[in-house]
Amino acid sequence: MDLSVLERVKWLQQQQMVSPDFFEILGSDGREELKRVESYLGNNNDELQSFRHYETIDGCISRTSSFQIEQVKNNEENRVIALQHKRKTEGKTEKIENKKKKKIKTEDETESSMKGKSNMSNSETSSEIQKRDYIHVRARRGEATDRHSLAERARREKLSKKMKCLQDIVPGCNKVTGKAGMLDEIINYVQSLQQQVEFLSMKLSVLNPELEYHINELSTKQFQACFTDLPEAVSKQLMMVDASSFPLQHQESLDYSVINSIQTTTLGSKDQTSSGWEIHSQSLYNNLRTDSVSSFFSLE
């Protein structure tokens, strides 16, 4: 925490957002002190980041400028107080607005007006820093606001988002509620998909091996054309069929069937899709009816 505080202070100085205010408040002596602090931070930045003895760092810096560190610590306290006060505030307000409100309130409670002024400027800048450095999780009313439960809640929300995505993909998950039931459905679905792959590969191996041959020989270009311009491709090939009719190559005949089947591929029930394919392939094969085709298929 201390290191982040230091980093923040350094960032502030780099941005030079606070220095004009500081200079007004600190006066000439303070300016020298500030320069010393800057040099300290600038030279020893790397060492500080690897330096593990937080107490000694505190000691060093407090010697040079206690004013600054108190300021920044005040900001942290403000943040914590703001979070705690959230429980009491009614209605949902923006977190940053709340912080600012609370900071103004706590500033009234602080003793010196000087501290108050610099607190204002600091609070704005530090809230900006917090916007950039921290992931904002909204603390809901009546819930714990410490870091662990916030992080856990963020994790849980991530998980539930992913589960919702899964619900869309896995069919039949809408009716089941709760994690256990959904996980059950997911497991069943994955297992059924894996079994389908096994079954289909067995079927493919049983079918004539020449088929695999010719599927391999089909150029990928043809497939790409099929996938992009499906209806045009099909109509073109149909016209080619009418024009040239006999004899046709083995490859072209396979083209038609594969085009159509892949075109109408959905993950619906097998009956629906197969019937669609049947119709398509039937209509096409009625047009073909060549000797070469029949001989090819009767080869095996």
Binding site: R155, K158, L159, K162, M163, C165, L166, I169, V170, K179, A180, L183, D184, I186, I187, Y189, V190, L193, Q194, Q196, V197, E198, L200, S201, M202, K203, L204, S205, V206, L207, N208, P209, L211, E212, Y213, I215, N216, T220, F223, Q224, F227, S253, L254, S257, V258, N260, S261, I262, T265, L267, T273, S274, W277, E278, S281, Q282, Y285, V293, S294, F297
Partner: protein, 180 residues
């Protein structure tokens, strides 16, 4: 997320490439050999679509590499195959029996109320199911947290769907052709 046609295309391309490797030996081999060849090349094609980004794809590639190293090397040529094949799978997370025993001892010491018992049973059930999911998804045992597991399951399901789609379309085309 549904499988897109580009995914179908790519899978088909890679699968063809894998099947071509078997071409000289495939005609005389038995049915089981052919089935094994088809399935292995399909699996590697599916996994290589992800190019090593997901955990399940790496685990699947390594599993098939133990069965047929040559095929995997050929199919993955150009996509950092050495790193994918030789990469050691992370050690199994924990020895389950020992963990179970120590948990039993811990549970005995705790005093429970009725509400806690119900919640504990629900949690046990969920844990058992996630363990089942880990067994099904390739590489599931090595996913440390549940969020990653669910993410991987999602991706795996989509890839399986593309695989099934393409295979089914080819089978139906072949069947339709044979009927003529």
């Amino acid at each position: 997320m549904q499988p897109t046609s580009t995914m179908n295309e790519e899978f088909l391309k890679k699968w063809q490439m894998g099947l071509q490797m078997f071409r000289p030996s495939i005609d005389n081999a038995s049915v089981s050999e052919r089935k094994r060849a088809i399935k292995l090349s399909a699996d590697v094609a599916m996994a290589s679509l992800r190019k090593g980004t997901t955990c399940w794809s790496r685990a699947l590639i390594q599993k098939t590499a133990t069965e047929d190293n040559f095929l995997v090397r050929q199919m993955l040529s150009g996509i950092k195959e050495e790193t994918l094949i030789n990469k050691k799978l992370p050690k199994v997370m924990c020895h389950r029996k020992i963990v179970r025993r120590s948990k039993k001892i811990l549970m005995r010491r705790k005093s429970r109320s009725a509400m806690e018992e119900v919640a504990a049973k629900a949690k046990k059930l969920v844990k058992r199911k996630t363990q089942g999911l880990r067994n099904v998804v390739p590489g599931g045992e090595f996913m440390s947290n549940n969020v990653l597991l669910i993410q991987e399951t999602l991706d795996y399901i989509v890839s399986l769907q593309t695989q099934v789609n393409v295979m089914r379309s080819i089978v139906d085309a072949a069947e339709a052709g044979i009927e003529r």
